[in-house]
Structures are given as structure tokens and as C-alpha cells.
């Protein structure tokens, strides 16, 4: 849509050159811009209240409209507008052509107003957001962007035939400007105008920002949905714009061709053709740039949510200013063009080529400057919009960015967070390690691992079996046989009674002594008891303890084994010894049961001896380990904990002894059964 406007405006420029000779003093350029400079809110009101009136009297002169507008102006951009406005009024009264143009302009206005009104009837809530963007050409571009394609078509039709008139109008303005301000001051005026409007714009932008930020916080998901839909629409429309673009290009081209034909009379065909070609290129580039930046701006703006009047107004103003700037720049271009042409007129045809070269260069320079300026402005706008949008997204569900600020403030202690996480992980690892260590030092578990438990279970089964057998024999026997058997049984039981304390045998025993005693004790059993396992374990334990103690005595602290390790080893050794003892008792029971020649009394005495040796040995092992632990406690940082470990070793040693004694007790029925054979 914007393209269309630019194209039309291109025609204006061309025509202006034509009308230079005729020196039409009328202008309507100011009117094209004034409404855009208006405060959007007032504009809405104005449109809403007076649209009907305007429809009824479309022939009403622009002067009235202007005075109306002037009355309602509140924004501080009055400087610019008044200047233009006065100029406009002055000239309008003079020129009948201008009147016509104004009428045309108001026609356009009315068309837009109608469209908007129609829309407003359908959806009143949309009115404020769209009312602000309805007045002139560039506004239409925005308006149409937000309206369905239907609208676009409708407005295109009346516009196209008018382009000639509008062109004339614009052209007259330029020529008037040139005459009024003089050739030298023209560029300065352009600058002044631009700065004045920029000031206004900045103020508006500032205001809008404040309001915007407040509003964005409350953007609801529903709105966001709507926005998404709008964006889709816009994208569609944009694509349609692109379709229109080539047509517009053609239009402008044909217009320039026309101009070229008429120009040839005074400028020289080839010369003008070149410049017009350059112009067409300039316009195409500028139109494209503006369109792109505008399109992007519109999309992003629309994406923010419900487009509020202020924002729209701001957008419009920006666009207006851009246009204004463009126009002024192009005017300047044209001026140079005119200058050139004048020069060309004066200069003989022989020198023509040289001057053309110079002018061509200067126009290219200007083109570059203009385009660069536009790109910069457009880029800044886009950046601003992106920035706004980013803030909005950031603030979504987090008013005042409190949460996010809090998050970022924690960044300072990130290292601490990491350290804590590490400590936590280490603690967990430690716990797992502890549980594993506890398992390693758990007597029963280790006892089971060494098959002590299952041997005990098997022994128990045998014991029960024997007991059942014994009971059945006792039931079946009678008389003297029974009394004799009962006496023998009691005898065995008495032998198997373990003395309460066997301190007498608590001699200091070394590995060799212990082995001798065990082997001697086993001999009397009459069955092959494998004492190798027990002896091996015993030797291993003693060797370990000696190594440990010698390490502790040496000053080399690196080699010192920790109390925990000593404890673990002690428990493991005890469990192993116990398991192997139980296993040997179990084996003894099995072998005794298959033994042909039983002598239960002897067996009982031997087994009692074995039990005594085993239990004393278990306590000896425990003592050796606790000595080792005591030495460790002296070096330890935590003697209390080490003392607890020592206690634990003695406790498990007692536990171990009780297992051995239990196993021995389970053997009694096995021995007794021997009596019945």
C-alpha cells in the first residue's frame, strides 16, 4: 500500500517539473501532512464525531478542515504544522486547482473514514486502535495494512485516476517552495522542518514508551492469540503488496516516459531520459526501503498486542516524517536536477555531456545519502521495536522483572551454589560408601558370605533329623535298654556342657601353638577334619595384624592403616573364622553320621576341645585387632569413634564364639545318635 503512495508521489515529482514553467503558485503539500501530525486521540474523536458530517459535505473546503484541525491541535508539533498550515491556507484561497485537489483529498479521507466507520459498527472495540490511522495517503497505507484485502482494492480504485491531479498539486508545491524561499535557503528549510518534526516525534515516542511498558504487563494470552492472527493477516497483505509493486513500478515508469516525451522540448531527450531513469531507480530503492522497514515495523508493532492509538500515532508520525524527509530530500534532488537543467539550458550543447556527468555523479551521491539515511532510520525503528518486544517477553508473567532480577542477583553466588551441589554429591557418595563400609563390617552378612549361615542351617537340619531319630528310638525302646541309653545320652550331654569361663586356656598363643592344639583336638574325632582352611585364615589374620602394628610403630605415617580399615578387617576375619568353624562342625557331623564305628563320648570330648580352641582363638584374634585399633586410636583424630570400633570388635568376637558354641550344641544329637548304633 505504501508502495502505491510512493509510486503516486513519484508521479507528483515528475509532474512538478512540468508545472515549473507554468509557475503555478498553488500548493497542497502541507495539507498532505498536517493531519498526520495531529494528536491521534483528537483525531479519533474528530473522526468519530464528524465523519458523518464530512460524508454529507465532502465539498467542504480544506481551509475549514484545516482551521478545525488547528483548533484541536494540542501536541507541540504546532510549529511545523502552523507554518505549513498558514502557507497552505494562503495558497489555497488563491488557487482553484488546489481546491480541486483538496476535494479529492477529502474524498480519500471520507472513503477511509467510511471504511473505518463500517468496521467500527461491526466491532466497536477495534475503533480506537484503528481510528488513529485513517487520514491521508501514508496513513492509508497503515490502515490498509490492518484491513482486509477488500479495503485495499476499494481504495486503490479511486486513487489511481487521481494521481495526475495529486501530482500536479505536489509539483506546484515544490515550485512554490522554490520561489518563496529561494534556491539557497531551500535545503536549510528542509532541515529545519525535519528537526522540528523529529523533536515532536521524540516526545511522542517517550510518552508512548512509558505507557507501553505499563500496558504490556497486562497482555493476556487471548490478546496474544489475536495478535498472532493479525500477524498472519499482515503477512498475507504484505505478500499482496509485493504483487502490486511491479504494477506500480510500471505505472511510475510510464509516467516518467510521458515526462520524457514532453521534456525533450527543452531539456534534450537523452539527457532527461538519463536523469529520469536515475530517478526511477532512486524512487524504487527508497520505496523498497521504506516499505520493508514499514512492513517490518507494522508486523512487530502488531505483534505487541492490542495496538493502542498512541503507538499507532507514533508509528504514523515516524512514517510521515520519513516521507517528509524523503520528499524534502527528493525536492532537493529535484532542485539540483532543475539546476542542472537550467545549466544545461544555458550551456551550449557541445559541453552538455560534461555537465551531465557532473550532475549524474552528484545525484548518485545524493541517492546514496538518502538511501543510507532511510536505511539507518528504518533500522533504528526496527531495533526499537525489537527491543520493546523483547522487554515485553521478558516481563511476561514477571512484572517489573523481579524474578529475573533475583535470578541474576544470584549469579554472584553461583560458585557457592556449585560448591554446595558438589558437597551434596560428596555427602551422598559418602553415605553410599558408609553403607557399603557398614556392610563390609557387618558380621552376619560376612558370615553368610563365607557360607557360615548355610552350613549352620545344614547342621541344624542334620541335628533335627538326628533328634527325631533319637526320639523315635527312645519311644520304641524300653526297660534296661532305655535306661542305659538315657544314661549314655546324659553322659554325652554333660561332656558337652561348656564351662562358663575358660580362663585357664587363655594362654598367649601363637599361630604354631594354636595349629598344634587344633590338630591334636581333631585327631580324637576319628574323622578327617580339614583344618587347613582355619589355619590359613588364622595365619592370614595374624600376618595382617603384625604388619599393621609394625606400620603403626614406624614413624612413616603414610603407611598407617586407618582404624576403619582395621575394624573392617577384624570383623571380616572373625566372620571368616566363625564360618569356617561352623563348616568344620557341619562336616564333622556329616562324617560322624556316616562313620561306622562311633564312640560318642570321645567324640564329644574332642569336639569340646575343638570348640574351646576355636572360641579362644576367636577372642585372641579380637584382642590382636583391638590392640591394633588402640594404636590407631592414639594417632586418630577421633579416639571416641575408634573406641567404639574396638567395642564393636569385642562384641562381634563374642558373637562369633556364640555361633561356634551353638554349632557345637547342634552336634549333640548327632553324637547321641551314635550311641544308638
Amino acid at each position: 500500500m505504501f508502495f502505491l503512495f510512493v509510486a503516486i508521489w513519484t508521479v507528483h515529482v515528475k509532474t512538478s517539473i512540468l508545472s515549473l514553467e507554468g509557475s503555478q503558485m498553488a500548493t497542497s503539500d502541507s495539507e498532505d501532512f498536517e493531519s498526520a501530525d495531529e494528536d491521534p486521540e483528537i483525531q479519533i474523536d474528530h473522526t468519530a464525531l464528524h465523519s458523518t458530517k464530512e460524508q454529507k459535505e465532502p465539498e467542504k473546503s480544506s481551509t475549514t478542515n484545516e482551521s478545525n484541525d488547528n483548533r484541536q491541535k494540542k501536541e507541540p508539533d504546532e510549529l511545523l504544522r502552523n507554518e505549513i498550515g498558514i502557507g497552505g491556507t494562503f495558497q489555497t484561497s488563491k488557487d482553484p486547482t488546489n481546491d480541486k485537489t483538496d476535494t479529492e483529498a477529502s474524498d480519500i479521507n471520507n472513503t477511509t473514514v467510511k471504511t473505518i466507520e463500517n468496521k467500527a459498527v461491526k466491532s466497536p472495540s477495534v475503533l480506537p486502535s484503528r481510528g488513529g490511522s485513517n487520514i491521508n495517503g501514508s496513513d492509508e497505507a497503515v490502515t490498509k495494512d490492518r484491513q482486509p484485502k477488500k479495503c485495499v482494492k476499494r481504495e486503490q480504485k479511486p486513487r489511481e485516476p487521481k494521481s495526475g491531479g495529486s501530482a500536479r498539486k505536489l509539483g506546484t508545491k515544490i515550485s512554490q517552495n522554490i520561489l518563496c524561499t529561494g534556491l539557497e535557503s531551500e535545503s536549510e528549510k528542509v532541515k529545519q522542518d525535519f528537526f522540528a518534526s523529529e523533536k515532536t516525534c521524540n516526545q511522542v515516542v517517550g510518552d508512548t514508551h512509558d505507557k507501553d511498558e505499563r500496558k504490556t504487563v497486562t497482555v493476556s494470552p487471548y490478546k496474544m492469540d489475536n495478535t498472532a492472527q493479525e500477524i498472519e493477516k499482515l503477512t498475507l497483505e504484505e505478500s499482496s503488496e509485493h504483487n502490486i509493486a511491479p504494477v506500480l513500478d510500471k505505472l511510475s515508469q510510464s509516467a516518467s516516459e510521458k515526462e520524457t516525451d514532453s521534456d525533450s522540448s527543452w531539456g534534450g531527450w537523452g539527457n532527461w531520459g538519463m536523469t529520469s531513469l536515475l530517478f526511477t531507480a532512486t524512487e524504487s530503492v527508497s520505496a523498497l526501503t521504506t516499505q520493508v522497514s514499514q512492513g517490518l515495523g507494522t508486523v512487530l508493532e502488531a505483534g505487541i498486542g492490542a495496538p493502542d492509538p498512541e503507538m499507532l500515532a507514533q508509528l504514523e508520525k515516524e512514517e510521515e516524517l520519513k516521507l517528509l524527509q524523503e520528499k524534502k530530500q527528493n525536492e532537493a534532488n529535484e532542485f539540483s536536477e532543475l539546476q542542472r537543467e537550467e545549466e544545461q539550458k544555458a550551456v551550449p550543447s557541445g559541453l552538455f555531456g560534461f555537465s551531465h556527468l557532473i550532475s549524474g555523479v552528484s545525484s548518485i551521491t545524493r541517492l546514496v545519502e538518502t538511501t543510507g539515511n532511510k536505511v539507518l532510520t528504518g533500522g533504528l525503528d526496527t531495533l526499537e521495536t525489537i527491543g520493546k518486544k523483547t522487554m515485553e517477553v521478558l516481563q511476561e508473567g514477571d512484572p517489573g522483572l523481579k524474578k529475573k532480577r533475583a535470578l541474576f542477583s544470584e549469579k554472584i553466588v553461583l560458585s557457592q551454589v556449585l560448591r554446595e551441589a558438589k558437597e551434596k554429591a560428596e555427602k551422598e557418595d559418602q553415605e553410599i560408601e558408609d553403607s557399603q563400609a557398614a556392610r563390609k563390617a557387618h558380621f552376619e552378612t560376612l558370615f553368610d558370605d563365607y557360607q557360615g549361615l548355610v552350613h549352620l542351617e545344614a547342621l541344624e537340619m542334620l541335628s533335627k533329623q538326628c533328634d527325631i531319630k533319637l526320639q523315635s528310638i527312645l519311644l520304641t525302646s524300653s526297660g534296661t535298654a532305655l535306661s542305659q541309653l538315657q544314661q549314655s545320652l546324659q553322659e554325652v550331654k554333660d561332656i558337652c556342657q561348656l564351662p562358663d569361663d575358660e580362663d585357664t586356656e587363655e594362654d598367649e598363643s601363637d599361630a604354631v601353638d594354636w595349629r598344634k592344639r587344633l590338630d591334636n583336638a581333631v585327631k580324637g574325632l576319628g574323622v578327617p577334619i580339614a583344618t587347613e582352611k582355619l589355619n590359613k585364615t588364622w595365619e592370614m589374620a595374624h600376618g595382617w595384624v603384625e604388619n599393621c602394628c609394625s606400620n603403626q610403630k614406624s614413624s612413616n605415617n603414610v603407611e598407617v592403616i586407618s582404624a576403619r580399615d582395621i575394624h573392617q578387617k577384624a570383623i571380616a576375619t572373625l566372620a571368616q573364622l566363625t564360618a569356617e568353624s561352623v563348616e568344620q562342625f557341619h562336616k564333622a557331623a556329616e562324617l560322624l553320621l556316616v562313620k561306622d564305628d562311633r564312640s560318642p563320648t570321645e567324640e564329644a570330648q574332642t569336639l569340646l576341645q575343638v570348640t574351646s580352641v576355636l572360641t579362644s582363638e576367636v577372642s585372641a584374634v579380637a584382642t590382636r585387632f583391638s590392640e591394633c585399633l588402640n594404636a590407631a586410636a592414639e594417632n586418630s583424630m577421633d579416639p571416641v569413634a575408634v573406641n567404639a570400633l574396638i567395642t564393636s570388635v569385642f562384641l562381634e568376637a563374642a558373637n562369633s564364639s556364640s555361633y561356634i558354641q551353638e554349632a557345637f550344641q547342634l552336634l549333640i544329637p548327632v553324637l547321641e545318635v551314635g550311641l544308638t548304633k
Partner: protein
């Protein structure tokens, strides 16, 4: 030494029975150690082996009682049948006598174990096919007639050894799932969740302490 995972959910008691020299201990050794023991000494009474396996995502500790095959220990080994969840009945495919004694072993097993005990027939030494004395078909027929699971295995090569132990475990586990095996029954041969090691285990399961106190 002690090693491996201990967080098993069940303990299954297996008993390996069969004539002397059929390779019971070798089968156990192959299963627990994955090695073949060339000259295996005669087993005295009973020896034990354990291995933790996984069935249907459940870790199960197999407590295997490898009994002595010698006839003189027969009385002793009979004491150990009780409470076996699985019974691996082994014969030697190169020695017909070991196969012929199966009915005797089966009678013992049936009498001394509970009805839900899974009995698995293993024809060992299948690597010695040239010296085969018992055909697969006839053994298979015997197994089918008696409702036994059957496989020919080799403790030497390890062929079908794992399968025999694992299939038995699966069958037992299925029995538990089906509710045919009462875990609370003392003779089920299955202990549930012994993963909390402690003195309680010993006291509850074996009542050793109680018996001793009574003495």
C-alpha cells in the same frame, strides 16, 4: 571374598542330586564360577554355591546345595531336601546306571520336598556324545512322563548349564506369581526380601538361638 550386589528380592534354595560322579559339583562350579573343574573331589555331605541372577527384573539369590552322590551319604543328604524350591536331578548320559537310578532319586525328591518344588532333569556330559549310553529321546520321554523339565548339558563346555539353572528359577518365580508357592510356608524354599541383613534373619529363619537357649 565377599563381593557383588546384595539387594536381591528372593532366595531360592536349589538342591542338586544324582549318582556319584555324574558331575553335580562340576555343574555347580560351572554355573557359579563359569569354569570347569577337571578333577573334582568327592563331596562330603553337602557343599554350597551361590549366585545372584535376575528373573523378570527381580534379583534372586540362588542358594545351591550340592549334595554328595556317594551312597553312604544318602541318609545325610536326605536331610537337606527339605525346603528346596528347585531340585536339579542329574544323570550321566555315558553311564546308563545313573539314568536307571533316576526313579529312586525322583521318589526321594517327591517325598522330601513340597509339591511345588520344580524338578529339572539334566543329562550331563553331553559333550561326550560318542560315549552316549542314554538317548535324548528316552530321557525326554521319562521327563515328560514325570512332568519334569529336561535338558542335556555339559559342565565341561558349559552348554545348557545356565539354561538349566535359569529355567528352574523362572519356573519357581512363575509359581510365586501364580500363587502356587506360599512364601510364608517354611518349606517353600523361598525367602522373600532378606536384603536387610541383621541378627533377626538368623533368629527368625533358623531359630538357632532359641534352640540353644533351650539347652
Amino acid at each position: 571374598m565377599s563381593a557383588g550386589p546384595y539387594n536381591y528380592s528372593y532366595i531360592f534354595k536349589y538342591i542338586i542330586i544324582g549318582d556319584m560322579g555324574v558331575g553335580k559339583s562340576c555343574l555347580l562350579h560351572q554355573f557359579t564360577e563359569k569354569k570347569f573343574m577337571a578333577d573334582c573331589p568327592h563331596t562330603i555331605g553337602v557343599e554350597f554355591g551361590t549366585r545372584i541372577i535376575e528373573v523378570s527384573g527381580q534379583k534372586i539369590k540362588l542358594q545351591i546345595w550340592d549334595t554328595a552322590g556317594q551312597e553312604r551319604f544318602r541318609a545325610v543328604t536326605r536331610s537337606y531336601y527339605r525346603g528346596a524350591a528347585g531340585a536339579l536331578m542329574v544323570y550321566d548320559i555315558t553311564r546308563r546306571s545313573t539314568y536307571n537310578h533316576l526313579s529312586s532319586w525322583l521318589t526321594d525328591t517327591r517325598n522330601l520336598t513340597n509339591p511345588s518344588t520344580v524338578i529339572f532333569l539334566i543329562g550331563n556330559k553331553c559333550d561326550l556324545d560318542a560315549q552316549r549310553d542314554v538317548t535324548y529321546e528316552e530321557a525326554k520321554q521319562f521327563a515328560d512322563e514325570n512332568g519334569l523339565m529336561f535338558v542335556e548339558a555339559s559342565a565341561k563346555t558349559g552348554e545348557n548349564v545356565e539354561e538349566a539353572f535359569l529355567e528352574t528359577a523362572k519356573k519357581i518365580y512363575q509359581s510365586i506369581q501364580d500363587g502356587r508357592l506360599d512364601l510364608n510356608a517354611a518349606e517353600s524354599g523361598v525367602q522373600h526380601k532378606p536384603s536387610q541383613p541383621g541378627r533377626n534373619t538368623l533368629v527368625n529363619d533358623q531359630q538357632v538361638n532359641k534352640d540353644t537357649c533351650a539347652c
